[in-house]
């Protein structure tokens, strides 16, 4: 068993291979089976630039407790082949306690792997596969892993049966046979891992990725209209919506570009239908002019930005938290709006639902900063709880006398007439306007409307949802979005070594919450911001918008590699001695 005593008992397994080797499928099946066997876990993947037949790595982490970050090292690496392994070797950290299973027909274990000092076991996966009719090496590999980690046979069988239902009995038999061969082969290897199997889950468990979770949150929040233009890594979210909205009496429209998609959702929302789009950095940039329109005309819309490596086209398939600046400040003029970030894969449900609710209640655009890591990591999680938010869009009743669309009453939220309501007609406008919505360039109207739009966001009571705050140390670590998972686990590990830390993970990033930030850091001696970008964006933001009650430091680096728990433990330890 490789996990040190202070580590969350878990197992990290990587399968690599290329050109149709099927490691992604095998990885997914491993996660599915493990979930059935009662454990938590994650599945992420990495691949080369080819659309088809490229090199790929399936990276699975299984644990008794919920986990939200990759393990520090892989306990098992099973390679169907080694093609271009050096391209993502850095994503596959190994230690001397790791077990590497290699097919000798694929040549020597590459130096980048061997250098780790991991134990190497040879297994002729390809040849073995040939001994089974229609046998595939990936199923043998799955069997090997199952055998090594003691995955109960019946769950693997269940999963294979489900996955191969469409392909027929023959395919299923072939898989079963190959799997059995793998299990058998595992018997010849020594491996010592934690026992993770407790079949009886107390609560309902889901397997979901952040993109699906955001989609579910959106429809829970009431979204019934989506217009979008595909872009990695947001496309899966859109595809999920396209299929699932149909069942709810909603629909998705593929727009000609992002300029169209943002305007389409503004149009739909103006018409009374809660509306959303999803995109990534380049698309968000294109939307910024019209997001300003939503601010000025006070039309609620939600934009989910599934962040990827930037700038420009950047690294489309990898994660980074570098769109914070554009999300906060990318609109011209003084344009207050909402920015939120989900703190985990399953929190994508809650945060997106909350974003829709807030947008509707505050008649404001909301940007949700998810990222590739959250969006495309499949995680085993406890069923996210149902929340029914009470607030909703305030609409103008027909015939309630003169309706001033941009009236100053109501803490800045003015009742919004929905087309069709008689007697309440108005013209929504992106020009500065007076309370009735008529264009005005008067200083008085400008300042009152600017005040109103800022005040409605600043004055709202966001309750406890604004952040996750855990622990009670004299030192605090502040993380946001997908970094939260790795930080939480790092703090837990440090906690079990006797160092207590406070975790502050704000879910609501804008409007700035200086009072809450200060309160969250009350009694803290020193705080450390952790984020995955090159220019320490949240750290700068915090300093600019708040006078923190304690000195604040930052640990940040760009993607594409996700933050690792071990890395953070080391950094935080170093920092806590400072």
């Amino acid at each position: 068993m490789t996990a040190k005593d202070d580590e969350t008992p878990s197992l990290s397994i990587a399968l690599t291979g290329s050109g149709g080797a099927g490691v992604i499928t095998a990885g997914n099946m491993l996660l599915d089976a493990a979930a059935k066997a009662g454990c938590y876990g994650l599945f992420a993947r990495s691949s080369g630039p080819q659309i088809r037949g490229g090199e790929a790595a399936a990276m699975v982490r299984l644990a008794k407790e919920p986990v939200a970050a990759p393990g520090d090292v892989f306990d098992i690496l099973i390679a169907i082949d080694w093609h271009n392994i050096d391209r993502f070797a850095v994503e596959l950290p190994l230690s001397t306690e790791s077990l590497v299973i290699a097919d000798p027909s694929q040549g020597e274990v590459p130096e980048v792997i061997a250098a780790s000092g991991a134990r190497i076991a040879e297994l002729p996966l390809k040849d073995l596969a040939k001994t089974v009719a229609k046998g595939r090496p990936n199923m043998i590999a799955l069997g090997v892993v199952a055998g090594l980690i003691g995955l109960p046979d019946e769950v693997a069988d269940e999963v294979m049966a489900r996955a191969l239902k469409k392909r027929g009995d023959e395919a299923l038999a072939a898989s079963r046979d190959a799997f059995a061969l793998g299990v058998e082969a595992a018997g010849t290897m020594s491996f010592d891992g934690p026992d993770l199997w407790t079949r009886a889950a107390t609560r309902e468990r889901w397997i979901i990725n952040g993109n699906e979770a955001a989609g579910l949150g959106a429809v829970r929040g009431g979204v019934r209209f989506v217009a979008a233009y595909p872009i990695t890594p947001a496309t899966d979210l859109l595809e999920w919506m396209a299929l699932n909205l149909q069942r709810l009496g909603g629909a998705l429209v593929q727009a000609e570009d992002e300029l169209a998609s943002i305007n389409m959702i503004i149009g739909a929302s103006y018409g009374g239908t809660p509306a959303l789009t999803a995109t990534s950095g380049p698309g968000l940039a294109l939307m910024s002019e019209s997001l300003g329109l939503a601010v000025a005309s006070e039309v609620p819309v939600v934009v989910v930005d599934v962040m990827r490596g930037g700038p420009s086209t950047g690294i489309p398939t990898k994660s980074e938290q570098s769109d914070l600046n554009i999300a906060l400040f990318g609109l011209h003029g003084d344009a207050p709006h909402l920015v939120l970030a989900p703190t985990s894969v399953s929190d994508c449900v809650f945060t997106t639902q909350w974003a829709v609710t807030l947008a509707e209640a505050l008649q404001s655009p909301a940007i949700v900063l998810s990222d590739q890591l959250l969006g495309q990591t499949r995680a085993i999680v406890d069923r996210p709880t149902d929340i029914a938010f009470v607030s909703q869009r305030v609409t103008a009743d027909a015939g309630a006398g003169e309706v001033r669309r941009y009236a100053l009453a109501g803490g800045g939220v003015s009742p919004m007439a929905i087309p069709g309501a008689p007697g309440a007609q108005y013209t929504a406008d992106g020009l500065e306007h007076d309370e009735r919505g008529l264009p005005s360039s008067r200083a008085g109207d400008h300042v009152t409307q600017l005040d109103k739009r800022a005040a409605k966001l600043d004055g709202f009571d966001y309750g406890n949802h604004w952040a996750e705050i855990e622990g009670d140390g004299r030192r605090a670590v502040v993380a946001w979005g997908s970094s939260t998972g790795a930080v939480r686990e790092a703090l837990a590990r440090l906690g079990s070594r006797g160092h207590e830390f406070r975790l502050v993970s704000p879910r609501l990033l804008a409007p700035a919450q200086p009072a809450r930030w200060t309160e969250a850091l009350e009694g803290v001696e020193r705080a450390l911001v952790v984020e995955l970008n090159h220019s320490a964006q949240f750290y700068r933001y915090l300093k600019g918008y708040c006078d923190p009650p304690c000195p604040v430091d930052v640990y940040h680096r760009p993607g594409p590699l996700p933050l690792r728990v071990g890395e953070l433990v080391a950094e935080i330890e170093k920092w806590s001695r400072s």
């Binding site: 309902e204 209209f225 087309p419 008689p422 013209t427 264009p439």
Partner: protein
């Protein structure tokens, strides 16, 4: 307000106008387009609250504020996309888009193309004055190549954009040209445009008397199109391709089914979607 006689009671064009006074230059063709639109709506007896008028930015895009329907004065070039979202999610509303040649064919060209193709049931009225009025007289895509201006001294040298041909080529279902000097004729075109399902495009020649004085002469040039509207796309193409820009009337009507979302299909609750995630 100076005292002025009360409007005629009953549902007239005036009931579709708002109290807001247009900032347009006296003599601008857009006044007559406002008349034409309101006359058309009165003729169709559409309740003002069931009509939404969407626009971008430009003199002509100021239209919504002058009407008593719902309106959205959006950003430059994006009106058609905004209207698409509205109409798709609210098929019960009558959606008009109003704007200028710069708004629609320069910055908004892509949405125009795709709106024709998408064929959502709405009516797009472009007040074509072959100039950017609002920003003080720059050439637009429909401007003649030799029109001199500060931004393009000596003229752009560019072939004018032919909106009707593009509309036809990209799939608009109703294509007509009106002239602001004939508001009643234009009202008729708008009535037909609204009645025709799908994306209807009405170009209205609407002089900019401030930056294109010469357009005051249009009234002498325009004429009814010499032949009847056609449904044959090939013939229409040939005819429009060689059209001089001054033939008025309906030039093409198609029978393509408008694009609609199936919003009323199933109506499950979001909870019903959860089974797909359960381990």
């Amino acid at each position: 307000m100076t005292s002025s006689p009360a409007p005629i009671p009953g549902l007239t064009a005036r009931d579709y106008k708002s109290e807001v006074k247009p900032v347009w230059c006296p003599g601008c063709g857009d006044f007559s387009v406002l008349s034409a639109i309101t006359k058309a709506l009165a003729e169709l007896k559409l309740p003002p609250e069931k009509v939404s008028v969407i626009s971008g930015i430009g003199c002509s895009s100021r239209m919504p504020a002058y009407m008593n329907s719902y309106g959205f004065h959006g950003v430059h070039g994006r009106a058609v996309a905004l209207a698409t979202g509205l109409k798709l999610s609210r098929p019960d509303l009558t959606v008009l888009v109003t704007g200028g040649d710069g708004d629609g064919f320069s910055i908004g060209g892509n949405h125009f193309l795709h709106a024709c193709r998408r064929n959502v049931d709405m009516t797009y009225i472009v007040m074509d004055n072959q100039v950017y009025g609002m920003t003080k007289g720059q050439p637009s895509p429909t401007t003649e190549p030799d029109w001199d201006s500060a931004l393009s001294p000596g003229g752009t040298g560019l072939r004018p954009f032919h909106p009707l041909v593009i509309a036809l080529a990209s799939g608009a279902n109703f294509i007509a040209r009106g002239f602001s000097g004939d508001p009643n004729g234009t009202a008729r075109l708008i009535v037909d445009a609204i009645r025709t399902p799908g994306f209807s495009f009405v170009e209205v020649l609407s002089p900019c008397v401030t930056f294109r004085e010469d357009q005051r002469g249009w009234k002498k040039i325009v004429r009814p199109a010499p032949v009847d509207p056609t449904e044959d796309i090939g013939r229409a193409a040939r005819r429009l391709m060689t059209d001089d820009g001054f033939n008025l009337g309906i030039l093409y009507t198609g029978k393509r089914k408008p694009y609609q979302l199936r919003l009323d299909a199933v109506e499950e609750e979001p909870a019903a979607l959860e089974t797909q995630f359960v381990v």
